[in-house]
Symmetry: C2
Subunit: 337 residues, 2 copies
């Protein structure tokens, strides 16, 4: 019998996309981007959803306040990657009946704080008991200027590929948490744990990049650079080169790499959940974009590659180029892989 792990998450989603092509003219984008986009009379309505499952996305015993922040952040990141801002949400929760009330109260009050600070509304939801893991599902509605929405499709050949922050911090943080016996400086530990446990979405940068009109395609790095760049490249009908020698890796990730005898570039290429923005800009607009971002946010951006007419991903080191295959997180992967 063929099982889900044999086709993987991508197979599952591609199957759905084939079954459901948009029907109503208001649907500007259905399955296949960070958000769905609906025409909403003068503005675009963005919709995204993320499910967090205990034992898959978080460990039993995880602090509910962190969980609430992460649940919101992963959804805000999808909205930001289209150039929009979050406005309202729906929450579904399946919880074992013996869940301590304090768990729920902390989760709910943390969400309430995070929502209030952003003027986000919780519109409703559904709750159920669960005979197994805690399952949380958040749906986030956002709004964007219809002329400024940035899709995965839209990159041109030779467009430069940028990311908004260092890569691999979250994945390295997960490996750190899995090695509690490791002796490592408290500040490095704190930095990496925070990257994994309370990642922050690029809520301000996403809409700003869209507003400039200089960015041709965008996605958030949630499954890993190779996986997410592949999504962007395929949606744009292109391939991409990744500049392996200039991937942005934090000093903290380098420190952990030395301790664990691992190449930090592996985390940067394949580690998920960084919630960095990954976007493309035509070479002639690169300078302008970097200037504007530097001026407004006092931040730099990292060039990590270039879009190519040749399909597939290639890793470039010096003058050597080799095919690069994604090894980002795969939900239904067989144990044997």
């Amino acid at each position: 019998v063929t099982e889900l792990k044999d086709i993987g998450e991508l197979g599952l989603i591609q199957g759905l996309a084939a079954l459901f092509s948009p029907i109503n003219p208001r649907v500007l984008k259905g399955i296949g981007d960070d958000c769905a986009v609906l025409d909403g009379d003068g503005e675009s309505l963005l919709l995204t959803t993320d499910i967090l499952v205990e034992g898959v996305h978080f460990l039993k015993g995880t602090d509910p306040a962190r969980l609430a922040k992460k649940l919101l952040a992963v959804n805000l990141s999808d909205i930001a990657a289209m150039g929009g801002r979050g406005k309202a949400a729906l929450l579904s929760a399946a919880l074992p009946p013996e869940t301590p009330l304090s768990f729920w109260e902390t989760l709910a009050s943390t969400l309430a704080e995070e929502f209030a600070g952003r003027k986000l509304d919780l519109l409703g939801g559904d709750t159920s008991s669960s005979p197994g893991p805690i399952v949380l599902n958040l749906v986030l509605l956002g709004r964007a200027d219809p002329d400024k929405v940035v899709y995965r499709a839209g990159a041109g050949a030779n467009d430069l590929v940028y990311v908004s922050r260092t890569l691999g911090d979250s994945a390295a943080g997960l490996d750190l948490i899995k090695s509690p016996e490791l002796k490592i400086a408290p500040d490095v530990q704190k930095y990496l744990r925070a990257a994994q446990e309370t990642p922050r979405a690029e809520e301000e940068l996403g809409p700003f990049l869209a507003e400039t009109g200089l960015v041709t395609a965008m996605i958030d790095v949630s499954d890993g650079l190779t996986t997410d760049l592949t999504h962007l490249a395929e949606a744009s009908g292109l391939g991409a080169e990744v500049f392996l020698d200039s991937l942005p890796v934090s000093d903290q990730v380098r420190t952990l790499g030395k301790l664990l005898d691992l190449d930090p570039v592996e985390w940067a290429l394949n580690g998920g959940e960084d919630l960095a923005l990954l976007f493309t800009v035509p070479p002639e607009k690169e300078f302008d974009l970097k200037q504007r971002v530097g001026k407004t946010f006092n931040r730099k951006l990292w060039k990590v590659g270039r879009m190519t007419s040749a399909l597939g991903l290639a890793g470039v080191t010096g003058k050597t180029s080799k095919p690069l295959t994604g090894r980002g997180y795969e939900h239904f992967r067989s144990e044997k892989d």
Copy 2:
């Protein structure tokens, strides 16, 4: 330690509602009705979500086609109960990696058929592996004429309470499925099983009732008549009398009641998932409403009670009136109850 089962689902939702009062002026209704309502420039956007958990809402081994239909029906019912029509959806699914691919394919293709027949769009979603039960979450967006949306609040004292179909069929169907040794006529069996396994939402009647402008408040019967009438009454700041002698009970439910030596009125009062519409109409508009529904749908409606200034629910038999307490489905109820 206080646990979720000690406060129950209602406690959980009331806690949320207290934390999240609407912020944006576009939010016409947040937590506390069958759908949230957003102002959408000339029309109202309705939003609802329902989560189905294996072992709670359906048994392991349930036909995925039935599951797809039920998942859609419970959401369509919420939209219908506000007077709207479904337009688009988001699907989240957590599935064990060893789930047969055929399960997913049947679920997805059935949803696709149901969606296509209604010109509903699937806009996107999220998938994850699950270390335990299958969990499905559907979010449904609907649209309604902003002047015609019907809320739970809005009933007046002395308004008459109606339901759109017989009550208790779904709950009786569940009890039938739990007693496979029972000898019962095939047509009765088929009717009751279908009521439980593939309940149908009042997709046409809901918007029609709203359109008449004669209905003052509405909710769908998903948790049982007493529970849902309590919700409607409390939202309207009223109580209600239930006419116990005239509750609509199907012949099939009566037949099962005789076989199991159970009072069918118990199912009618406390059985969930009938997806009937429960609504109120002022006495002077009762005749007009019944006429219009009869003419358009060739259907009758059942009068089951009356709204009262006195709070709480009362069960009325002849001239006797006794307090009535809800015993509908409660997710987090302790085993001891």
